[in-house]
């Protein structure tokens, strides 16, 4: 592990962490994966395949079937059949039992899932172990409990499921996003065709094994792997009753274009460019940690990442200096090492996108700070990066980078902070750090974003609704509010 980063402070003390690499021996990755339709993995003899890689080594992990339009049709038919034959007529209490079972199996096999998630996606094992897996299980638990209590969430309303739901999820939190999508859809009585992202299909396919193990009726969850064309076949399919998408604003807009003409129910959870506002009276030690977590969590592959730091001018120099010292201590490297803070960039194309945008920032006049850490030779890596001297008009201040790159701007008054914070077409999340309670509420009330973290950042919970304003999408996931998109609600006629 000598080619991985050694923190400068630890050098000062002359100590370093010994590698603590999680073993992959408990994994049982198959050579080839078929589509998961109607409770079974389909035969792969006539499949067209694509490879999924370990982004930290570029080594292929498995061959994955690319679902054609005909395959998607088969999955939708299986979901329809399961809806009509089993799921529609099952009591909420029975649906709940299945969701509870899935939650338990995820907990029981969480180590296996966490290692696989890290291997396939490149995120640090400490994050997949401590965040992705516990939250994924919690989402199934939370929604399991709703399945037989929905009428309490919608008093005086007649509610019914949509039927077959098409769901497309991104590569940044593969299993967690699958659970955010599947749990409420199933709790509300829908059946699902789920398309995982092409670079991270493995945990969804392992989840398919869990689905078999818990005896979920065949066809209630179908998993079709593939890239854009597979997703497009699902979006355009005439027998899908509702669509839910998490991913880029660019693709979200294409999906909305397709859905509006058919008046098809849709929820979108899209990109962000979250302002992270630090006032001069903030508790600085905590704020520094919050900013670090806000942008470098999951390599910055987070739609709600605190990617735009707005720091009050009076403390800016001091704050940025301390921030840089803290960044020097971040350990970039082997995602399976339990000491790793920043893992691998998810894919080559994402690495190129980050690089291109940062270069655009430098060309437009930004100053760049990167710690002098060495990066592994193979795999996709990007060091934690801070851009200062950024103007509001710069691309790096406006476009979502989706990588470990923090853009810094300053402000003098709360009004100016607010103006800059809201100067974006996005509106997913925002952060505020101050010790003044009334200022927190003043800012929180005025920032146009769906999730506001005050004196904390990047916290998630199944009971807490998540979703965006403006071009960050519509609809909520989690909490009581996350149920509504998966039900048709009508007024009970008097």
């Amino acid at each position: 592990m000598s080619n991985f980063k050694e923190g400068s402070d630890s050098e000062d003390f002359g100590i370093d962490y010994a590698p603590a690499v999680e073993s992959t021996s408990l994994l049982n990755i198959k050579e080839k994966y078929g589509l998961f339709i109607n409770g079974d993995f389909l035969d792969t003899s006539s499949s067209k395949f694509f490879k999924t890689l370990d982004p930290s080594t570029e080594k292929p992990l498995a061959e994955i079937t690319e679902a054609s339009a005909a395959d998607v049709d088969k999955a939708v038919k299986a979901a329809r059949n399961a809806y009509e034959k089993y799921w529609m007529n099952m009591s909420g209490a029975v649906r709940a039992r299945y969701l509870f079972r899935i939650a338990r199996h995820l907990q029981e096999r969480s180590r296996e899932f966490a290692v696989l998630e890290t291997l396939d996606g490149g995120k640090p094992i400490k994050e997949s172990r401590d965040v992705d897996l516990p939250l994924a299980a919690a989402h199934f638990f939370y929604h399991a409990g709703w399945a037989d209590k929905l009428e309490y969430a919608f008093p005086q309303r007649k509610i019914e499921p949509h039927g077959v739901v098409g769901q497309i999820i991104p590569w940044n939190f593969p299993l967690l996003m699958a659970s955010w999508k599947l749990a409420p859809a199933l709790a509300c009585g829908n059946t699902v065709v789920l398309k995982p992202a092409e670079t991270t299909p493995l945990t969804a396919l392992l989840l398919a094994e869990v689905i078999q193990d818990v005896d979920l009726p065949p066809g209630v969850i179908n998993i079709v792997t593939g890239a854009g064309e597979t997703g497009s076949a699902l979006v355009e399919h005439p027998n899908v009753d509702k669509l839910a998408f998490t991913g880029s604003t660019e693709v979200g807009k294409l999906i909305q274009r397709s859905a509006v003409k058919r008046n098809l129910p849709l929820t979108l959870e899209l990109g962000g460019k979250a302002p992270h506002v630090i006032f001069e009276d903030a508790a600085l030690d905590q704020a520094i940690e919050g900013v670090i977590n806000g942008i470098f969590f999951n390599q910055g592959h987070v739609c709600c990442a605190g990617s735009r730091l707005l720091v009050q001018e009076s403390i800016a120099e001091h704050f940025i200096d301390r921030l840089q010292k803290r960044i020097d201590l971040l350990r970039v490297g082997n995602p399976l090492d339990k000491n790793t803070d920043i893992g691998a960039i998810n894919s080559k194309s994402q690495l190129e996108r980050i690089d291109k945008l940062v270069n655009a920032g430098i060309e437009e006049g930004a100053e760049v700070y990167k710690p002098s850490c060495s990066l592994p030779e193979n795999g996709y890596w990007y060091p934690p990066t801070v851009l200062t001297g950024v103007q509001q008009s710069h691309r790096v201040a406006r476009e979502e980078i989706f990588g470990p790159v923090l853009v810094v701007q300053t402000f003098r008054t709360p009004e100016e902070a607010l103006e800059k914070a809201n100067n974006t077409p996005y509106g997913l999340s925002a952060g505020i750090w101050t010790e003044k309670g009334s200022l927190i509420h003043w800012m929180a009330e005025r920032m146009r974003a769906g999730v506001i973290w005050a004196n904390t950042f990047n916290k998630f919970d199944p009971t807490s609704p998540f979703g965006g304003y403006k071009e960050s999408g519509f609809g909520r996931e989690g909490g009581m509010h996350g149920l509504a998109p998966y039900l048709k609600t009508k007024r009970k006629r008097k």
Partner: protein, 281 residues
């Protein structure tokens, strides 16, 4: 003696609290159920729409910043204003061929809409918001906030109840509105504008354009400073591909039964905001 020659009303647009003519200079004629000309009405252009959106955007923050109690009072005041003009409204509806009993009922129900939603102004947050029991030492709550600027394509019939049923649930929460009315229902719309102009609704909160809905639809659906459009009144035979432009800024498109009265109609034009704060010493 001039008593035999009534003074006819000029029907103009309602933008930012004033009644301008269309910048295009165009008008369209509206006839009564007997085919007699009632009025030449201003036909709003794309530029008028832009002005109306600008007015709605400028008014939005201040309207949303009013207390819920105050917005409720203002909405209730509108009901009072219509109450005193009941005869005028039912005469107008009758001129379109609505029978006397139906016209009276439509006016009564329209007034009741304002009263019903006025009462919601300081209650929907309590019904729709929540405190969320997250598994950690955090205070976490969710509150509804207005979506912003909302375009409304109201149904042509019933001309009064249809427009009011779409408009009031939009503005009660602090959204501002741009309404596009068409044909004879434009006369009702402009008469409602006169009520609003003499009530306490601040300028720009409601803007009413009269003209061709199908003509203006692509521009309102594609406008980057409009956050949501209620398309409940659009003609279902028309080419729906124009709705695609809603995606240019991920606009919320809402379509509902035309004359219902419900909390969902308020919810359609709200965004849920969730706030986290640590609990500690």
């Amino acid at each position: 003696m001039t008593g035999n020659i009534p003074i006819a009303k000029t029907y103009k647009l309602f933008i930012n609290g004033s009644f301008p003519r269309s910048e295009s200079g165009r008008t369209f004629s509206v006839v009564d159920s007997q085919g007699e000309l009632i009025a030449n009405v201003s036909q709003a252009s794309r530029k008028d729409l832009r002005e109306a959106v600008r007015a709605a955007r400028s008014a939005q923050n201040a309207w949303a910043s009013r207390t819920a109690y105050n917005r409720g009072q203002i909405l209730y005041r509108v009901a009072e204003m219509i109450e005193s003009r009941k005869v005028e409204f039912s005469e107008l509806l009758k001129s379109f061929g609505v029978n006397s009993r139906t016209a009276t009922r439509e006016v009564e129900e329209s007034i009741q809409r304002w009263v019903w939603y006025a009462g919601w102004s300081d209650k929907y947050s309590q019904i729709l918001g929540s405190v969320n029991p997250v598994s950690g030492p955090y205070f976490n709550f969710t509150v509804p906030e207005p979506t912003g600027v909302v375009g409304i394509i109201p149904p042509k019939e019933p001309s009064m109840l249809g427009l009011i049923s779409r408009l009031v649930p939009v503005i009660v929460s602090g959204n501002t509105a741009v309404v596009v009315s068409e044909g004879h229902s434009s006369l009702t719309a402009v008469t409602i504008a006169e009520v609003l102009a003499t009530s306490d609704v601040p300028p720009g909160v409601v803007n009413i354009l009269t003209g061709d809905q199908a003509d203006l639809l692509p521009w309102i659906v594609g406008h980057l400073d409009v956050n949501a459009v209620d398309i409940s009144g659009i003609n279902q035979d028309q080419d729906l591909t124009v709705l695609e432009e809603a995606a240019s800024n991920v606009k919320r498109l809402i379509s509902r039964e035309i004359d219902e009265e419900s909390l969902e109609l308020i919810t359609d034009f709200l965004e849920m905001k969730t706030v986290w704060h640590p609990i500690g010493r």
